[in-house]
């Protein structure tokens, strides 16, 4: 039995055990059982993924499973990368969930509805919502769905037939939906989030299903082997139709604009460990689907496919990061940041597609490797960030950055680990996000020299793409300075934040695992070179060369000039910092820093309300991007009754709604409602009318028969 088979066996049996034990275990042991089994399932994925990336192959067909088809599984290096990604996320999340869904904490409590109000400083007075908590993420349903969700995600990259893929895809959607809805009793917004998620994910499924079914019909078989072999038989028009459909479908799962609307809702309303799984792991499976079908099964396509992906990716990156940079809800911010990062991955995939169509496989390989590497990096830091946000939520019951702060001293471990994740997400060295963005930029830079005489389209799109990546990097930096600086530093802005305490050991351990992954990816990315090369061998149109030459500590790109050593940069920073610190210590001669009240221009004691909040922090950006964001202002001026010139209070509210969503979806929903209301008239209860329908039907059929006969 190969290692992959063993790993998949662990996944399957772990999931079955998880469902059974999760449902049967007494409530006290449930968190432990579900968490451990989730980690075990994840470990199975890691095992299988490592084996596959190490060069093993594996396939299995079980005809007795899955009626009207067969459960067909096959694992290659591309599957392996995503098995590893999802599995690793699940391991960390499983460990974390033991503490998170265990007793205690404020995250089950009703969040502060009066955020931004003066009363918010008082904080929720209710005690830790232990009971509400048991009904939410710790409920029997949610706990037994967790390992199953992970297993479904892990099996998606292993699926090797249309039916298998779609069944697992939907199983993943269903289990994640159950988990998103876990806290439905506590907040009304959970139900809306679940609905949006369900609707968007089903829309995605429709697109994928249609695309794959058409593909299978054209190729004459539904197994991936048949699709691969038969993709040449499809007409160019059909191929493009299939590609566009699956791009829409997988893109909606990946959270690209304008199909991203479920993401900020679902990710912020789901329990945090679930958000981590969804945002880090599930979203990247959208990328997997796109690569698998677009580049493997269809084998790449014309230039405009790449351009389409590139354009949508660029828009997603920009829009996502803009919304993230002005978001005030920590989990919403992270969700929009997911859209941003997915956009970056799509830029990589799209550019790879463009260069592959031009025949430049080396460059395409580098860009594809950048996209996959970024997916892995994103998974690592986003897991960490969502778990960190979960720790904050558990400790304070708050997601609102405007009410947080001061956690660095109260939750030092969480703060430090969140900082690691934020560094990665802000794409700054020595974080891990920087590495993959660097590879991406390198790929784009060399498009000039590598393509010789580039097309006009490339000459316009590639610089714009670079601009987008650059602007995204800049705004991403703002976003995470805000998230970390406002959320964790300074003095607490509410009493609950002031009363926060550090998370339990398991949660810290889960975050630590994710942070270790971030550090590993940041410092030794070159070790990904060989696996990435193997991965690219799977994809015919980009398979030449080895994108990252494994040259020890430096990251070198093969085929094109470019090198960078994250490890040495980190070492340099460490050495420089340490020597400066040592010098400073010499100079200080043992004099400690005096702790003094912060300088408040000599005024009264600094109030936490004088601190900059997330809203005020983002204010300049909101102004700069006023045309895109269009914030809504709301000013209530209440004068005294005696005179309207004497103001008793002024209340100012600002909201930054999702413009794209507001433009696209309400009209659609309104139209559906009108349609529904109109069609109610069809069934008005009159028998005469109903009979008339029948006669009209009969008559028209007879007429048609008469005419055609």
């Amino acid at each position: 039995m190969s290692l992959i088979g063993a790993g998949l066996g662990v996944i399957a049996w772990g999931a079955i055990a998880g469902v059974t034990l999760g449902a049967l275990a007494p409530s006290r042991a449930r968190a432990l059982v579900a968490g451990v089994l989730t980690s075990v399932v994840g470990a199975g994925g890691v095992l299988a993924g490592l084996a596959a990336l190490g060069g093993q192959g594996w396939s299995l067909t079980v005809t007795d499973l899955l009626p009207l088809g067969a459960m067909t599984l096959a694992v290659d290096a591309l599957s392996g990368a995503f098995l590893l990604l999802v599995g690793a996320v699940a391991v960390a999340v499983g460990v974390y969930s033991v503490g998170y869904t265990g007793p205690g904490g404020r995250h089950g409590a009703e969040p502060d509805a009066t955020s931004g109000d003066t009363t918010a400083l008082a904080g929720p007075s209710s005690e830790p919502g232990a009971a509400g908590h048991a009904e939410g993420a710790a409920s029997r349903t949610a706990q037994s769905a967790l390992p199953l969700f992970v297993a479904a995600m892990l099996l998606v990259p292993a699926a090797a037939s249309v039916s298998t893929l779609l069944v697992l895809w939907e199983l993943m959607a269903l289990t994640s939906l159950v988990l998103v809805l876990a806290e439905h009793r506590l907040r009304a917004s959970v139900r809306d989030a679940g609905l949006w998620y369900a609707g968007m994910t089903h829309a995605g499924l429709v697109a994928i299903m249609l695309g794959l079914v058409v593909f299978a019909a054209g190729a004459g078989g539904e197994s991936f082997t048949a699709l691969r072999a038969g993709s040449g038989d499809l007409s160019p028009g059909t191929r493009s139709l299939v590609f566009v459909l699956i791009f829409i479908g997988f893109g909606s799962k990946a959270g690209m604009v304008p199909l991203h609307v479920w993401l900020p809702r679902a990710h912020s309303e789901a329990p945090s460990h679930v958000s981590a799984l969804m945002s880090a792991a599930m979203v990247s499976l959208g990328l997997y689907g796109l690569i698998r079908v677009g580049f493997d099964l269809l084998g790449g396509g014309p230039h405009w496919w790449g351009l389409l992906v590139l354009t949508v990716g660029g828009l997603s990156a920009l829009y996502g990061v803009l919304q993230a940079s002005v978001a005030v809800d920590l989990k919403r911010l992270l969700a929009y940041s997911t859209t941003e990062n997915v956009g970056l991955m799509l830029i990589g995939v799209g550019a790879a597609g463009m260069f592959a169509a031009d025949g430049n496989r080396i460059l395409a390989g580098v860009l594809m490797a950048a996209a996959v590497l970024h997916a892995v990096n994103h998974a690592a830091f986003k897991t960490l960030l969502f778990l960190g946000a979960g720790s904050v939520l558990r400790a304070t019951g708050l997601r609102d950055l405007d009410l947080l702060g001061g956690l660095a001293r109260r939750m030092p471990v969480t703060t430090a680990l969140f900082a690691v994740g934020a560094l990665g997400a802000a794409a700054l060295p020595p974080g891990n996000g920087f590495v993959s963005e660097w590879v991406l930029l390198q790929g784009l830079i060399h498009s000039v020299t590598a393509t010789g005489s580039p097309s006009v389209v490339a000459a316009l799109s590639i610089p714009l793409a670079v601009g987008v990546v650059a602007l995204t990097a800049g705004l991403g930096m703002v976003t995470f300075v805000k998230a970390f600086g406002v959320g964790f530093l300074a003095r607490p802005r509410s009493t609950v934040a002031a009363a926060a305490s550090e998370s339990p050991l398991t949660m810290r351990a889960g975050m630590f695992l994710a942070a270790a992954a971030c550090a590993g990816l940041a410092l030794a990315p070159a070790t990904a070179g060989a696996p990435l090369t193997r991965l690219l061998r799977v994809l015919p149109s980009v398979r030449d060369g080895a994108p990252l030459a494994d040259s020890g500590i430096a990251l070198r790109l093969a085929g094109i000039a470019g090198s960078m050593s994250p490890l040495l940069i980190a070492l340099g920073l460490l050495v420089a910092g340490a020597s400066v610190a040592a010098l400073a210590r010499r100079v200080a001669q043992g004099r400690p820093r005096r702790v003094a009240q912060a300088w408040g221009s000599g005024g009264a004691r600094l109030d936490p309300r004088m601190e900059y909040t997330a809203t005020s922090f983002a204010e300049p950006l909101t102004r700069v991007f006023d045309d895109v964001l269009r914030p809504e202002h709301d000013i209530d001026v209440t004068p005294y009754v005696e005179s309207r010139y004497l103001i008793e209070s002024v209340r100012f509210r600002q909201r930054v709604p999702d413009r794209l969503e507001a433009r696209l979806y309400p009209p659609l929903l309104a139209a559906a409602t009108r349609w529904g209301q109109w069609s109610r008239r069809l069934a008005n209860g009159s028998v005469h009318r109903y009979l008339a329908y029948g006669f009209v039907g009969l008559l028209s059929v007879l007429i048609v028969v008469g005419i055609s006969g």
Partner: protein
């Protein structure tokens, strides 16, 4: 370009620096012995100006001391925004009740070693405001004063001479 022409036409307006005071004790009008220039501060003194209730006369003179003609900056003096960056406080005016506490806070916020320069008669002895109902007292009543610059207002050269005692330049 008109600015450029003006620059060329005007040339240097700073008057040549007077002889450095040999010791701060000789500083004009110091009726009590000022401190020796402290070694770490030599050559560079950042000043945080605190208007404790001045009539703005002293402010005008301070502004002019840092203007092109007197150019206090050439002695290593600079006005800064934060008391954290300051080596010395430049306090003007009698200390009003409302400004007493801020003045203390400013003093607290200044890192050691720190100096306090009381500028103008009002700062020294409340001047014409002595006994006013809103006046807390002279600067020395609130925080310890190291250098006193008398005058109502003190002229820039007097001020600069006193401050040069701090920088030692």
């Amino acid at each position: 370009m008109s600015v450029l022409r003006k620059i060329i036409r005007t040339g240097r307006v700073a008057e040549s620096a007077p002889q450095a005071p040999p010791a701060s004790a000789d500083a004009e009008g110091a009726d009590r012995s000022g401190p020796e220039p402290v070694a770490p501060l030599s050559g560079s003194v950042q000043l945080r100006h605190v208007d404790a209730g001045s009539c703005n006369g002293c402010e005008l003179e301070i502004a002019s001391a840092f203007g092109p003609v007197y150019d206090a900056e050439r002695y290593g003096l600079r006005l800064v925004a934060s008391p954290r960056h300051a080596d010395a406080l430049l306090v003007t005016g009698p200390v009003t009740r409302n400004m007493a506490d801020p003045l203390r806070k400013t003093y607290e916020a200044t890192p050691a070693p720190r100096r306090v320069v009381a500028v103008g008669d009002c700062a020294l002895n409340c001047g014409v405001f002595a006994g006013g109902h809103g006046v807390e007292g002279a600067v020395a009543d609130v925080i310890p004063v190291d250098v006193e610059v008398p005058g109502c207002p003190p002229t820039p050269d007097v001020l600069i001479a006193a401050l040069r005692g701090l920088t030692g330049r």
